[in-house]
Symmetry: C2
Subunit: 211 residues, 2 copies
DNA sequence: TAATAAAGCTAACGAACATTAGCTTATCAA
DNA sequence: TTGATAAGCTAATGTTCGTTAGCTTTATTA
């Protein structure tokens, strides 16, 4: 039932995204996309009916991938809510590894990384992309982590209101370092070191609080 | 000695920045800049010799402003180091007001706000702007706040290494909320509320630690 | 084997772009 | 009053862009 995608068609998407991620939509010429793929510009129109059509296909693919990932997170989230031991019991070390892992995934996953950059450079001229950026990199992560911290705090003195602040304080430094490395890949090591110290300090501060 | 700037020349800069902030450099046409100013495209060339020249003039003006501001911060910083009472003595409330004040300045100051957006959308295709972005919105703020937290921690158990993490944890949430409001001005109230709660929590966590 | 469709190519078109040439008008010093 | 300069304008130029037309070739299918 699901249509098979021609390899060239897929490569056009990939190379276009690579270019859009750096320059944004408008400054990228169809000739440049074609050259990256290894064909001539008019040949692109055998696969997509316009430049905008390529852009839309990228958006569609991203939405598909994000929903798939959100669905798997949902499962993990539910499991976590049921099964995971409390904050203190997770252990600082595994929390560090989780943070670093997510950081490295978003930094190095080809599609995720380039799509994030494209959203970044297009966010102010496209209301749809603006909303998508906020959902993917602000509201969804903050909501999700609020939920986790909220669950952890139930048996504790932490109130629900504070869970959002905890989420903000946990997430923002990691995200800031992610965008730093987007610009300067050579500072990845430094960022990882800072993330480790940040998580350690964060755990210490919020665990110290309950004793 | 200092050359007087024609009002039209200044308006060109201002309107060009407004457009560059949203679309980036390339997609903005000189005709669009001219129309925003209220003249025809060829008339622009009486004031600047090319489109790139307008862009460079914006960069130059921004560097001037930033250096002026940095110089005044330097003075405040030195004064702070000499005169300001310790962290706990500043008072949570005035710390909140300071944070909100800086946040609102960067969010609403016309030039600062638009220039930040322009850096955001141009950062991946211009190495110079990339470095400038990192300096202005990562290294300089983190260094400065590290210095402050470092001074405050001298008489305390906090080590210098931790001052950078403190700075990161203090600054990142505020900056994240700033970029959120850049996209969604209608969420300013929510952001201010979160900043207040964040600073309160931050102060409580790091003060609780020393007792 | 013959017919069809898919996927590449060159050539060309019309629109939009940055920029230049050259004109007009107003300001202002000599 | 005259001459020059500044700052606007229209018209035009050469380039680049997205897209289309129409051809060739290869692979698939009847």
């Amino acid at each position: 039932m699901t249509q098979q995608i021609s390899p060239t068609k897929q490569r056009i998407l990939s190379e276009a995204l690579t270019l859009f991620a750096v320059k944004g939509y408008e400054p990228v010429t169809v000739a440049a996309i074609a050259e990256a793929v290894g064909i001539k510009a008019p040949s692109l129109y055998k696969h997509y009916k316009s430049k905008r059509d390529i852009f839309d296909a990228i958006l569609t693919e991203m939405k598909t991938r994000y929903q798939r990932q959100a669905a798997s997170m949902q499962m993990n989230g539910t499991d976590a809510a049921r099964d995971t031991p409390l904050f203190a019991d997770i252990g600082e070390e595994s929390l560090i590894e989780m943070s670093k892992g997510l950081f490295l995934y978003f930094l190095h996953d080809d599609f995720a990384c380039k799509f994030r950059k494209m959203l970044t450079v297009e966010q102010y001229q496209n209301a749809g992309l603006s909303a998508l950026y906020t959902k993917q990199y602000f509201d969804d992560p903050i909501d999700y982590q609020s939920m986790l911290f909220g669950l952890l705090g139930k048996t504790d003195t932490l109130v629900a209101e504070n869970a959002r602040i905890m989420a903000l304080q946990f997430y923002a430094p990691v995200f800031l370092l992610l965008t730093l490395c987007d610009r300067h890949p050579n500072r990845e090591e430094e960022a990882l070191r800072l993330i480790e110290q940040h998580v350690r300090q964060f755990a210490r501060l919020y665990q110290g609080e309950r004793s």
